[in-house]
Symmetry: C2
Subunit: 372 residues, 2 copies
Amino acid sequence: MPASPARVRFHRFPDHPRLARRACMLASPAQRQENSKGQHMKKLMNTPAAYVDEMLEGLTAANPSLVLDGESGRVIRRSCGAARGKVGIASGGGSGHLPLFAGYVGEGLLTTCAVGNVFEGPNAGSCIDAIKLADGGAGVLLLYGNYGGDRMNFDMAAEMAEIDGIETRTVLGTDDIASAAPEDSAKRRGVAGIVYAYKIAGAKAEEGAGLDAVADIAARAVAATRTIGVALAPCQVPGSDKPTFTLADDEIEMGMGIHGEPGIWRDKLKSADAIAGEMVERILAEKPAGSSRRVSVLVNGLGATPLEELFLLYRRVKMLLDERGLEIVQPLVGNFVTSMEMAGASISICFLDEELERLLAAPAACPFWRVG
Amino acid sequence: MPASPARVRFHRFPDHPRLARRACMLASPAQRQENSKGQHMKKLMNTPAAYVDEMLEGLTAANPSLVLDGESGRVIRRSCGAARGKVGIASGGGSGHLPLFAGYVGEGLLTTCAVGNVFEGPNAGSCIDAIKLADGGAGVLLLYGNYGGDRMNFDMAAEMAEIDGIETRTVLGTDDIASAAPEDSAKRRGVAGIVYAYKIAGAKAEEGAGLDAVADIAARAVAATRTIGVALAPCQVPGSDKPTFTLADDEIEMGMGIHGEPGIWRDKLKSADAIAGEMVERILAEKPAGSSRRVSVLVNGLGATPLEELFLLYRRVKMLLDERGLEIVQPLVGNFVTSMEMAGASISICFLDEELERLLAAPAACPFWRVG
């Protein structure tokens, strides 16, 4: 049994100045009382402290295919449990990104998910629970976004799981091209593109493939996927007295991360076509060598951006890819990975090969996404 | 052929002071140029004039099951066309509410949908196109929300369709309990609860029922459904220089309509449990006489409210219904009927009988909702 996992918890960006400031605020309960003095985003909630657990209660009450489990009480698993003899897939991450992460637990997708507080990684105890509950005897793939706190806790959990005889592999989502240069692609953050890795690895596991094969296809899905986001307005962590960042009334930020990590530039709001154009150009500049002409596209809403506007973006993305002779299969448009009430969108392109395309099209079902 | 249908267009609330002011602004292209002087909500768009048509282009490009058709170029129909010998269901309404209305075209749901400009009803030409394209030889049910402009244009279109030998029936969504007293329930606005009528009437039509039977079950679904909304922040019509209403930083409005029509009260933000509690109480006070203990619940996001917070609301709704001995079947939580970037939520309860429940559970598939 893990020793005091609750103490082993890390904020996602202990070393990021903008978020370290917020983390510091969060760490002090006294300061949480100062809400009414600061800028205020309206939240439909009871208390900041109860936000995540009450959300999970509602999520599982509304979706009987999802069950809350684990000693930590912070793991979502399939109600049917892990399939015997199949590779399990465990993910995890901070809350505030629904449907990510916990919403993707389901047939052909994740087996379990460890749930952290808003914008904080899950604690090590939850990671251990997620691994154990995902184990069907054939090992567990740990598939989650590349954030320091998450990595540290999942690595620790993987070591403890191995002691218990559960074999694991780890693949990290690193699709955010705005977060590091191409030569440092392993340092990139994981954002919306991770849903391609979930879908593709989930289908492979469902087929009965072994742990190495499932890990390999997950890594190939990550390597084939590029994402960039644009923010129009910030969100606010429950209990915090300030939004995660500020933007002027006519300003947007290109390349911002899903917790408000700084992007590439700030400038005046441009047309949807101009924004989509730049995002597509930046992604295509990193088209994987030797990739085919078939791609999937995800135009993802960050939370407060109307579906109408996501379709406006998709319209332009399709035109641009058509011009390049790229054929879109299985386009996805909607809120797949959000940042609560953040306004903006991200565009992901998954450059397919035959196997990736087949697995992407395989049947899958979670409360927020159904394929086949 | 209709004579100049484009001239026959009405704003949704010509007689509503708050919206009449906006409609007046929209009518003057010169005034649209004043955006930069006024309060500004950031939109991912190209021009206000192109917002709807470009959105429809993206919507249909991303969803091959939907096709843009009609002489007006403003009708969405199923790509497979109307089923021969089956009753068609045509709906319609203003844009800015996705997935409503056009997004519900699909098997077991709508056959066609006439699309208006943002927050304006579809013109009569589009309504006529929607009826013709929905006709499979067994008549067409017109099923849409109770708004003046929509009614006038659909009524006119129904008359012209009858001349062409297409039999029609009309059922109006009137589920918003905040919009008129119970004794005036026929005057109530149609809001999120209309998706229950879509689903139930769509299933009945799919079974091969006749026009009267489909209209009857649609009317029963409307009569069995109650909705109330709460707004936390407004939205802004593309090209307008002001949001549809204003709320103070700590203020909410109970009972507000999906275009910003005034509600029942304004007050300080309360806890999610208190808000859900009042909404449920108001709905249960109008529980249809003789209804069973089985209900479906829709907790609907208006656009900018995080899914997390919808689940917080659902959690409390379920507790309260459990206490009353009401059993929830097929709960729905998500963005089903939005108002662009409006923040807030609505709660709908559909009081089921055996047939309504069976039809609600029947298979259906549109890009935004799949059952069975």
